[in-house]
Amino acid sequence: MLEHVFAALDALTDPIRLLALFGGMLVGMVFGMLPGLGGVAAVSILLPFIYYLDDFSGLAMLLGAVSVVYTSDTITSVLLGAPGSPASAPTAIEGHALAKQGEAARALGVGFLSSMVGGLMGALILLVAIPVAGPIVLMLGTPELFMFAFVGLFFASSMIGKDLAKGIAAACLGLFLGVVGPASAAADFRFTFGQVYLLDGFSLTIVALGLFGVAEAISMLAAGGGISHTPIKVSNWGAGFSDFWKNRWLVLRASIIGVFGGFVPAVGASASTWVAYGHAIRSTRDKSKFGKGEIRGIAASEGANNATVIADLVPTLLFSVPGGPAAAIFLGALFSFGYYPGPRMISQNPDLMFLIVWSVALSSVVGAGICFAIAPTLAKLTRIPFGIIAAPLILIMVVGAYQATSTMGDIFMLFGLGALGWMMKHAEWPRAPALVGFVLASPMEQYFWLSNQIHGWSWLLRPGVLIIASFIAIPALLNIYRWLRNRGKAQVDAAAQVLNLPASEDHKTISLILAGLVSIAFAYAIWEMTGFNASSRLMPSLALYPGLLLALWLLYRAIRDYAPATSSQFKEPLILIVLVVYAIALWAIGFTIPTIGLLLWMLFARASMRLVPGLIYGAVVFGIVWLLFNVLRGDAPVGVLTGLS
């Protein structure tokens, strides 16, 4: 074995291969930073290029990209608050809050180091794939997969926050979004309104971008150019290093959670990130800082997401079952080079196996190093008025969303869900439980159904199920024990620490509208559900009945508290309307004209740039976006009325 380890390292140090590895890494880093474009986009864009290289170089290039996406996305999440990829949504919540408190360096440092550990953990797991990981993957039958998803949803309850009704309603909303499309249990297409676009359900990227990214961009544009805001400084990495060291065991545990997420097909990095984040909350005594800038939240989620994307390769290499979307493309590349993954490949091509391990390990370390080097420079960019950053951000999110199916539906969904996310933000419905509900709805339903079909109810007693269930049971028992021991003593209830922000009148209006819309949507969905097969009704029922009751209760509360807005300075609805008009214009007259119009409006009306720099900057942004469209999709959206793109 040892001779293969060094033979593979020797093979990798070939200059062309190193160049390919680092080239792939750079592409991966850039795509990790661009919100909505992640590992899948990076690997897809590299795919045609690898056919001009030899097999080892080509695969090293893809691995370089896969290994760093979840490292560099930390930068976007922390500095801008828009998740660089769906799986870094917890980092966007905690990290951006820390950045606003002037602690961006701490957040970034912990994020990079945790990502590196996650990547190395993934590499280690690949190294022991044959003797250790293979049997573990075989032990994870459908009941275990269901339990894993269920634990994730249970942990999501930790993120509900101070207002129980809004938190659970948001989770129900997420579950509801997650059941749109084909039911796994029977041949029903749910809530598709006859639209082919919805036959596959919503795309995770678009849901994450809409709920978090668009809402943040709207606030940025509303902040405009003249409003003062404290620049984010990235200096003094020391605090980050010491925070990382303090939380090293948490990072390690999170990486292991991430690795298990990778073993499970279809439960991707986003799910295991939330599970790890939930674990961080459960294992932290003072929970008051979660949601407002808790470094442990970043340590856990960044440790997990990078470990997952690497561990995704384990089922890919052992069983030809890709653990995630980027791994699926990697599998295709292996096929194209004439490698057919399976138990035999690893014994037949040990050099390739160790080349993969080395590539992943090297990229994880070097990638984190590069992130440390470039983060201070990138942080300086945030001193530019928000409006100027928001312009390319919105357009890149459009490009990212358009990767899903490259139909106009992608763009309508992006801004439609953006409007929903924006309303949730201002009505103080937490968006994290919604995203978790969305991510876990379909694996939970699918594995529950399959488990019951195959095993009857006996699956509940399988050892694997019991072990995974203990992730919930043991902390719960510990909490009861602590509660019993501390009975009578003064309790600091984290949940009771309510932020005493007086809700503005605008927010009351938005609360009213959101509660009304959600009530109508849930009521309609319950009616439509009556036409489904019984087995397709179970999961939506879990979301819709409690969801409708809560939404009606919130509607009642909103009406009770309603006060009509007097002279409002609230500019955000205007921006939302402009974005919706932009989406419609894209559909009607194509990409070029509305985009130039939107850019001019954002740069001059919102960011108050001066004429010449504004025009130059606008032209550069437009050029880059146009190039991205061309490289990724081959074409930009074409207008229905004009036939122009």
């Binding site: 899948v40 986009a41 897809s44 864009i45 795919l47 045609p48 290029f49 001009y52 993957v137 075989l138 032990m139 039958g141 459908t142 084909p182 796994s184 249990a185 029977a186 041949a187 029903d188 006859g194 639209q195 082919v196 676009y197 036959l199 596959d200 097909p265 279809a266 089922p315 069983f319 030809s320 079952v321 890709p322 979307p325 699926a328 493309i329 990697f330 295709g332 590349a333 096929f335 194209s336 057919y340 993954p341 399976g342 138990p343 035999r344 490949m345 899903a404 199916t405 490259s406 139909t407 699918q446 399959l450 079909q453 195959i454 095993h455 097969n533 061309n630 490289v631 990724l632 081959g634």
Partner: protein, 359 residues
């Protein structure tokens, strides 16, 4: 993700286009052909399209540049609808797809905008399927499939998609198989088989060769039969070259019942299985494509099949499967895409009553 332009850019950058610049003779000289795959990159259809790409570039007259472009979504319906609206009718746009696109058309599913039966067939590649079972059932060959010790459990994705011919074969053979549908790919089903959760399974060519064959050698799987391959009339009576030692479904029926299969169950299996297996991966062109283009492709397919390099590579990847094209292939596919009203009614009724599919 579309890779067309990036390939073009790269080719331009590194100067590989120099060869194409020599004014070449031939119908497609200086042109490029877009092969639209309505599934994601990395999937079996995409990989097959990439596998065939260099051979078409080599053997089509004028050596056109071929771009494989993926347009996933809607279970392949979105990509096919896009093709219907945007494809050229001169052979420069090809829809390369599977029964996942054909079955919704045959069954008249909502949202289908393409009239696949009117399309021209440029070329086709078989997509063999092999049924196998677990030794725990006590079954040792196709002949004693009805004397299984344990209930047979089959894992699938959705009744109306690529599982349909497998389910129809169980109907035809009169097997009592419990079908658990709802997996999200044949890979996870394969894993569930290894884990002992399901015990009868169909797998397609590459996975059969790389995963199932080793399992058979280790005594962890028992091969049963293949879907069969087409005879001169397009009937699936022949053994499949991927596993010539195994009987076809047709033969298994004969063995179990002492007569050749007939009737509505056979008609339904024959129609659906031929677009899933024998003509599993098919390149379609718009209905008004000139016959000249179809003839050019038929010639190119003959040249590719005769190319020793293709023969050697396909031996490795598909056990030597060959492309087919020309009037006989087109006729067989069009027949399968236009089943009789009785067959259509039988399929709809079976799917609705047994699998809860709504139309």
């Amino acid at each position: 993700m579309k890779t067309a332009t990036s390939i073009a850019t790269l080719v331009a950058v590194i100067g590989l286009s120099a060869g194409a610049a020599n004014a070449q003779e031939g119908y497609f000289a200086g042109k490029s052909i877009d092969v639209i795959v309505p599934f994601g990159p990395g999937g079996a259809t995409f990989v097959s399209a990439k596998f065939l790409e260099p051979y078409f570039e080599k053997h089509l007259p004028g050596n056109p540049e071929i771009n494989v472009i993926d347009r996933p979504g809607g279970g392949s319906i979105l990509g096919a609808n896009w093709f219907e609206q945007n494809a050229n009718s001169d052979g420069t746009t090809i829809l390369f797809t599977t029964s996942s696109t054909a079955n919704p058309f045959v069954l008249g599913q909502k949202g289908v905008e393409y009239n696949l039966a009117d399309y021209r067939v440029a070329y086709s590649h078989p997509f063999s399927a092999v049924a196998y079972t677990s030794p725990s059932t006590g079954v040792t060959s196709a002949a004693d499939i009805k004397s299984s010790k344990t209930p047979l459990i089959y894992g699938g994705i959705a009744a109306a998609a690529s599982d349909l011919p497998g389910l129809l074969s169980f109907e035809l053979l009169g097997l009592d198989v419990k079908s658990v549908l709802g997996f999200n790919g044949r890979g996870p089903v394969r894993l569930a088989f290894e884990q002992g959760e399901v015990n009868i399974d169909y797998q397609f060519t590459p996975v059969y060769l790389t995963q199932v064959v080793p399992s058979v050698e280790e005594g962890k799987a028992v091969p049963l039969w293949t879907g069969g391959s087409a005879d001169a009339d397009g009937k699936l009576t022949q053994r499949d070259p991927i596993a010539p030692e195994l009987p076809s479904v047709y033969e298994v029926y004969e063995q179990l019942n002492g007569k050749a299969p007939s009737g509505i169950e056979w008609e339904a299996f024959q129609g659906i299985a031929s677009v899933t297996y024998a003509y599993g991966l098919t390149g379609y062109m718009k209905p008004d494509t000139p016959q000249e283009v179809l003839d050019i492709f038929a010639q190119a397919v003959a040249d590719i099949n005769a190319d020793p390099e293709f023969q050697a590579e396909s031996q490795k990847v598909t056990n030597g499967a060959r492309l087919s094209a020309g009037p006989a292939t087109e006729k067989a596919i069009k027949t399968a895409l236009s089943p009789s009203d009785e067959v259509r009614a039988y399929l709809k009724d079976l799917l609705a009553t047994k699998f809860g599919v709504k139309f």
